[in-house]
Every structure is written in structure tokens, then in C-alpha cells.
């Protein structure tokens, strides 16, 4: 089952713009954030995916028409105890995927909390997607599709149900985000990034709403 559907890879050096975006995954512990990233980046699924402590970082590139979109993905730890670390990761992010587990209502409530926090504290132009993960467990569903859909519409979020296990909609959600991100500032190759995440307490202005360089 694992790895049958590999993730999209950059298909050679196409003449086009290259955009670089910072994307963060948020959501209650064990909803499958790391699994989604692993599926997207390496086309794999580990049943015994280790829990995330602090955060993990990966990158993946997708091609969209003539644009190459490079995601810098920050996968965070879900436990409430690590909440205080989250701002360090979502600060300056252009996109966020807030994940919940469709078989667990509490994780949906927690997802709403994250959305609220992002709307208040993250960059104003941030693209937020809501992922109802573990869609393969539909027989144990506790969060109705319509319920999540309605919530997403109210808050103008992208909403897709995914399964990291079967790979359903995993590439799709990242592509949908890539489509929605502004790529207006013209093409050109990326500059090498200047530094990692800024960790000081002041809000960094560097890449507010930014994208293509």
C-alpha cells in the first residue's frame, strides 16, 4: 500500500517562476500531521510514525503550470504542552494546514482553536487549509463532512478530507494551497534564503504575504 502513489516531483528545470513558501502544520496530537507530510514529501506511510517533539522540517516542490512552488514545511508537535512553541513556527508562514482526525470530535474542536489563533496572530494573508484526516476510517467517523465543510466556508478556509494512509487527497491539498497562494510578483529564480526562522520576540516582517522572489 505504502508508496504506491509517489508525490509530485519537480519535472526538470522548466523555464518559469520559482516560488518559495513557508507552510506550517498545526493540529492536535496524533491526528496525522507528520504522516501527511511524509506522504507528501516521500510518498510513504509509517504506521508507527513517531510523535513529533518540538518540530520537524521538510521541503517539497510541486509544479503548477509554469510555476515551481517550493514548500518549506514545518511540522509541529500537537500536544497542548508544546503550544507555546507554535508561534515560532507559524510566524511568517504563508500557508497553514490545520489537521483534525475525522474519527475524533475533540480534535475538530482543537482545529477550530488553531484557526482562530492563526486568524488573530499569523500573517493576515495566510492561506489556511483544513484537513479532515484519516478519511479511510469512514466507518468510525465522528465529524460529519458537512459540519466541517460549513465551518470552513464560514471562515473561508480550504477544506479537504484526506488520508495519509491511502494517500487520498494528500497531494491535492498541497496543490490547492499552491494554487491559492499569490504568485503575482513576477518570475525569476529564488534567492537563497537569508536565514532560518527568526526566533526573537519581535514580529518579523521579512516575508509578510510574500512569495516569489
Amino acid at each position: 500500500m505504502a508508496g504506491r502513489q509517489g508525490a509530485q516531483r519537480p519535472n526538470g528545470a522548466t523555464q518559469g517562476k520559482i516560488c518559495q513558501f513557508k507552510l506550517v502544520l498545526l493540529g492536535e496530537s496524533a491526528v496525522g500531521k507528520s504522516s501527511l507530510v511524509l506522504r507528501f514529501v516521500k510518498g510513504q506511510f509509517h504506521e508507527y510514525q513517531e510523535s513529533t517533539i518540538g518540530a520537524a522540517f521538510l521541503t517539497q516542490t510541486v509544479c503548477l503550470d509554469d510555476t515551481t512552488v517550493k514548500f518549506e514545511i514545518w511540522d509541529t508537535a500537537g500536544q497542548e504542552r508544546y503550544h507555546s512553541l507554535a508561534p515560532m513556527y507559524y510566524r511568517g508562514a504563508q500557508a497553514a494546514i490545520v489537521v483534525f482526525d475525522i474519527t475524533n470530535q475533540d480534535t475538530f474542536a482543537r482545529a477550530k482553536g488553531w484557526v482562530k489563533e492563526l486568524q488573530r496572530q499569523a500573517s493576515p494573508n495566510i492561506v489556511i487549509a483544513l484537513a479532515g484526516n484519516k478519511a479511510d476510517l469512514a466507518q468510525k467517523r465522528m465529524v460529519e463532512y458537512e459540519e466541517a465543510q460549513a465551518y470552513a466556508e464560514e471562515n473561508s478556509l480550504l477544506f479537504i478530507e484526506t488520508s495519509a494512509k491511502t494517500a487520498m487527497n494528500v497531494n491535492e491539498i498541497f496543490l490547492a494551497i499552491a494554487k491559492k497562494l499569490p504568485k503575482n510578483e513576477g518570475g525569476g529564480p529564488t534567492q537563497s534564503r537569508q536565514s532560518g526562522v527568526k526566533l526573537n520576540n519581535e514580529q518579523t516582517q521579512q516575508s509578510e504575504g510574500g512569495c516569489c522572489k
Binding site: 504506521e47 504542552r81 503550544h83 508561534p87 537563497s192
Partner: protein
Amino acid sequence: MTELGKADFGLTTFFAKSHPNDKCGANGLPLTPNSIKVLGRFQRLKAVSHPNLCNYLDVARGKHERLMVVAEHYRHCLRSTAKSGKYTNEELFIELAFGIVSGLAHLDRIGITHRNLSQSNILLDHQGKVKLSEYGMYYMTEDGTSVAFPIGNHKYLAPEALGLGPAVIEDHTDSDATLTVPCGPKTDVWSIGLILMEILSIPYKNGFRLFSADGRCKDLELPVFGENGYSKEYLESDHLSLRSMEEVYYLWRLAGGDLVGALKKEGLTKSKPPIHLLPYYSTNEGEVFGQTRDRAELLDSTVVILSQEQLRQRLSEIDETAYYPLLEDEQSQVTSSLPTSPSSNDLSETANLPLVIREKDIEYQFHRIILYERLLKGYPYTRGHIWKEARVDIPPLVRAHVWGALLEIEGDIYARYDEIDKETPTQTDRQIEVDIPRCHQYHELLSSPAAHGKFKRVLKAWVVSHPQYVYWQGLDSLCAPFLALNFNNEALAYSCLSAFIPKYLHKFFLKDNSAVIQGKLFRLQEYLPVFSHLITFHDPELGNHLDGIGFIPDLYAIPWFLTMYAHVFPLHKIVHLWDTLLLGNSSFPLCIGVAILSQLRSQLLSFGFNECILLFSDMPEIDIQRCVQDSIKIFCNTPKSATYRQHARPPKKAKKEESRPNISYYSRDYNEQPSSELSMEPIPVEELKTEKCPRISAEDLIELGELSGPSHTKSPTKRKQNSKPMLLVIDVRNQEDFAKGSIPNSINIPFPTAFSPEGDLNPCSAVTSLNLHKVQVKVVVGSRGRNATNFAIELVRLGYQKVCVLHKGIDVLRSTNILTVPPVDL
């Protein structure tokens, strides 16, 4: 621990029921293989010990859900012995019955039902004493549900057991629960009755019956208790037989003992060519037809006796005194750890070989195990000696207890653990439950349901018994090594975890009441900058590079420190790392971090931010032994105040010092020692973060610089005569101040004129002298203000290593009589 005596090791094999390929658990994830379930349940059997029960020693998984069980074994069983009519003797018969009942009564006490009793698994040892075997089959297979064959000899099974039919239900339903009602001890009572009846009533081969008077004298030639069974003299010359069964079995494996090989030799693994195993028909969904396994193959009742020949051969050269090593000589001096007598020659040479080789060297392990086993018997009195030996290495067989000793576990840990409520649901349960099935699950033992249960209990016990702390993700990883080592001893696993956390992660798991402390975990706020300083101190080039690309420890090192590397390495590496970690103080983990970076140095130096961070998103292969050695080096080359953290554990009552005579001053925690105005003191985190170098206390300066001063030094270091000084003091005050009084042998490079506009050091004699001291610790000394700090930052930028700043500057030394007027420079 039961002595080996004359027991054999018996090997049996069977297959666990395999799951259909397409089946998933309720969480959508693959089902735990039944062999893993059995493996987990089996562990408890290893702890069963009773004179009438055979000890279980080991279980191993083979291909295709095969399980191999090793247990104490005897060549005589009731079936063979009874044929001779031995039990026509009423006394012997009663003795036999009593033996069986005693064994079963013990099983009943610990809640295990035999349900597999038959004449062939009631074994008799050399004295004719009853030794029940195979009593764990029903238990380890979870009342037979993990196997696809019936357990128990139908001849002796109780009606209620037979009435249930075989426990196997070919369940293609989704529910895992089999509807079997487990059998209780009464089933066993029925079986004893039948077996004893049979012995009393069944005609023997030679045709006489018990209650007939004739032929009794035929017993006479049979072995009778005390005659040619047990012989004290024999045992006395066979020292190995006095060692514990577990130990001998461990050595047996080291001597090349191989379970699969033994089965093959006996023809018990019939390997079919794989093509014969293919199903005849398979659907797209993965359902297969046409290859059902022959049930008769699933269980083989043969017991293969594992020959001890090879082991005894390997140990035959060992002098018998080696079985009884001398721990202390007349002066009650701790004697050297490794035998140097000609018989057991050059083991001290073996001690220098790589750890993995030492662990496979049977002779070496033999000596080490015996030594440790004796030391552990004397614990806590022998604590100092154990510490000393642990610096050499720790044999895997005794690691669990040695760790307990190093963590200074004492007292009635069982009562304490029993008292803790591990059952009542709490808020933390969900997190614990989702973490456990993700924690070190490649490990056979830890992935079993039995392990999950224990895991949960130990973690809950810790959370409940430490109300000031909370469960953090990562605590599961910390617990895993202790649980894996003490699988049958939750209380010790719990005690070790409880002792480990305050030692290395003091207050890390504190309830974080002010929910968001901007951007950081509270304790790590101090820990991580100190780590940065340490990197820079030892490897400024790397430190500069990582700083320059923004690859700061916050991004990669949180799981390192929060779990003491238990989240980032596999268990077999963690144990080796922790073998040493446990000997160091709470600053040692920082040194491990530097050692890891230095192992990856060339890659890191050539990498940019993204590559660096990707490198650590999956911990790269690290040579642990090298890492351990490097850490020790780094540790010894770091002034102790340089890793000072105000949040490290506060001083403990010094009661235990005297029993750890051999601990170097490095293994003691800085905070555990008396402090004075010359010591380190808390530095605000914000200030720490603006600095690049560690600070050194005046005390350390005096100590390492061998400056005469107050006599209350903390370390009993004996420095070699006429060795080079350990450090160079760089005074950055202006010449006037310097001339009025300065530290002997210090050089003066006034900060304002030190650097050229290009940022290089302006050449002068002091700079020449600085360049001659590349490897020494460089202590930058200023007065008030930031000159010293800034100077140090510049030195680091220029690539000078081991730069640190004197905490509180020159003024701190005014109260001492160290400062002198320097000789006029020519």
C-alpha cells in the same frame, strides 16, 4: 534466580496464528502480529520461579510467525518414569502428587492456568523432583487465542474445556474478541486427577498393577532420591552449574548457541521451496485462496535439548577462582576489575576493544557478569565500586540492575510503586495512549500489547506521583529504555525514570502555568543558549557557520535534550549512550550534543540552512561509541562553570558522597557544590542569548590557572608537575588599569585598540603570545561593561577556540590576594 544445576535447556517451537493480509485494526492500522503478542506475554513467564516449575528462559521469533521457546528441561518425564512402575511405591507416589500440586498451586497464586497438563510435560529432575513444563503455553497464547491449534492433551482436559471446543475461531469478523471463556484452575484439578488415576491404574509394560503385591522389588534398581541423583561433590567441581540459569543461557548464546540452527538440525523446520507457499488464487484486494497451512505443522511437541558442550568447551580454560573473584583485599582496597592472572590472561586488553566486540566476547562477558553480579549483591555498600566498573563498561545482562545502582535506587521500590494509583482515568490518558503505539515500535518487545499496558502504567504512575509535573510528549521516549530493560519489573523501571528525570531534566516537565512563555519552553530557554556557547567554545568555525545560517539549536535540539536522545536514536544505541550519560552530571548531555555535531561537522559546514535542517529531520547515522568518547573529551575540556545553568538541580544532601569515593569532580553537579562569591551565579536568559561564549567563574579560573588563592577549591585535581598551564588570561582593560594590578601571567590587549578597521587583531607581543596558545582555554577578563564580552565575540569570529569570559570581571578577584603588579613589559 535458579541455579543451573543439572538442567538442560529445552527448545520447543510452534506457530502463532497469522492474520489475513487484508485485515486492519479498528484504527485502520495493521494488526499486531500474534507472535509479537506472545512475545510480550511470555516475558512474565520468565519471572515465574518455583521449585516445581521449569523456568522459562527465552522466546524468539522466526520466519512466518514461528516462535521458539527455551526453557529449563529434564530428560525424564512422568510418562517414561511411570512405566517402570516407580510410583507403585506409595511414598514416592505421594511425593509425586505433592510436587505436581505444589507447582500448580503456585501458578494459581500468580493467576496462571496450566491447562496443558499431561504425562509428558511433568518432568522429573535428577533427584526425581517434579518439574512442570509447558505450563505457560495457555498463558502466553492468551488462552490459546494467538494460535490456530488446540492447547492441551484432550485425554486430560476437563469437560468444560473440551465443551468450548478449540479456542480458534477462524474469525473473519471485525471483532478481535474471541468468545472463549478462559479456563480457570479447576481445569487443572481435573487433569491432575486423571493423570494420577492413570498412573495408579494403567497396567505397566511388564504387566503388574499397583495394587498387586508382586513385582515391587523391581523398583530397586531405579534411581532413588539421594542415591545417584544429586551429588554434592559433583556439583562442587562444576562451577557453571551453580550459576543462574539465565546467566548460563546468556553465555550459551554468546558461545554460538543458535535456536534456528538447533531446530534445523533436528529437522523441525521443514523448509518448503517458496513456490509451494504461493496461493493458488488471489484477488485484487489481496484475498488469497488455496494455501491453507497444515494444522499438524503448527505445533511440534518435540523438545530439542540444546547442547551445552560448546559453552563448556569455551569456558573450560577458565580457572575456577574466576568464579569467585576477590572484590577487596586485606586493606579493604577495591581490587582491580579485570583478572590479570595467566589463566585468564589479557582481558584488560579486551577491555580496549570496541564495545560491540566486548559484548560478544564470551570470556570477557563471563568475567564481567560474575564481577557485577557479586557487586550488585553488595549494593548499596558497593556503590563506589560499581561506579568504577561502569566506567569500563556494563554487560547487557546486568545493565538493568547496574543502571538502578547508578541512579541510586534504594528502599522498598515495590511497595512504593504498588501504592500509586495507575488505573483511575486522568486527563493525560489520551496523550499517553496515542504516544505509546508510536514509541520505539520497531522493537519487538515494546510493540507488544503487554508492553503497551506496562508502558501506560509506568507513565501514569510517574504523572500521578509527581503532581508538580505534567506529561510531556517525549516522556514516553525517556521511559522506553527503562521499560525495555526492566520489562518484568515495572517498579524498577518506574524508580529509574523517577530518579533520572530530576538528575538530567530538572523541572523540564513542570506545569507551565503561564501557558505561553513567548516562544519557548521555559527550561529550554536557558539550556539552549548554553548549548550554543558550548558549540562555539569547542568549535568556533562550526558555531560561526551555524549561527550565520540561522541554524540554531531551537530548531533541532529540542527533542535531543527533552528526551536525552531517547527520541532520536534506536534503543540499542541509547543504552550505550546512557551507560555513559548516567556517569556524568546534568551538563554531560550538552557535551553529547556537541559530539554529535562534530561527527557531522564536514557536512554541516558545507550545508546551508535547509540542508542542515533536513539532515536532522531524520537523525543521520551516528557512531555511538565515538560519540561517547568525544563527549567525554569535550566534558573534560570544559571548565565546569561554563555549563552552569541556574535551573540545574539544586544541592542535594551530601550524604552519599562517601559511598562514591571514585567519582571525579566532573560527574558531580556544579550546583551540588558549596558556592561562594567566586562561584557562578544566575544570569538572565536574555543576557545569555546576547553572548556567544560561556562564562567562567573566578573559582574555575583560580583552579585551572593554578593561581594561589583561597584554599577551598572544589576539585581534588592533581596536575602533573611542569605541565603547561591550562589557560591563558587575556586582560582587555587599558594599560594603566592593567599595570595597577592584574592576574599573574596574563596578557594585556586593551579592547579599544585591539582590532584593525578590517577586524583583525593588531599585531603586538601580546597577540603573538595569544597565537602561541591556540589550544588553551582563553579567559577574557575585563572590568564592568561589555568590553570583555565583545572582545570574546571578536575572538570567536576570528576562529579562536575555547574562549570564555570571566564572570563579573576583574573586580571579583579584588577580595583575593591573587592580583599582582605585572613586570614591566620590555
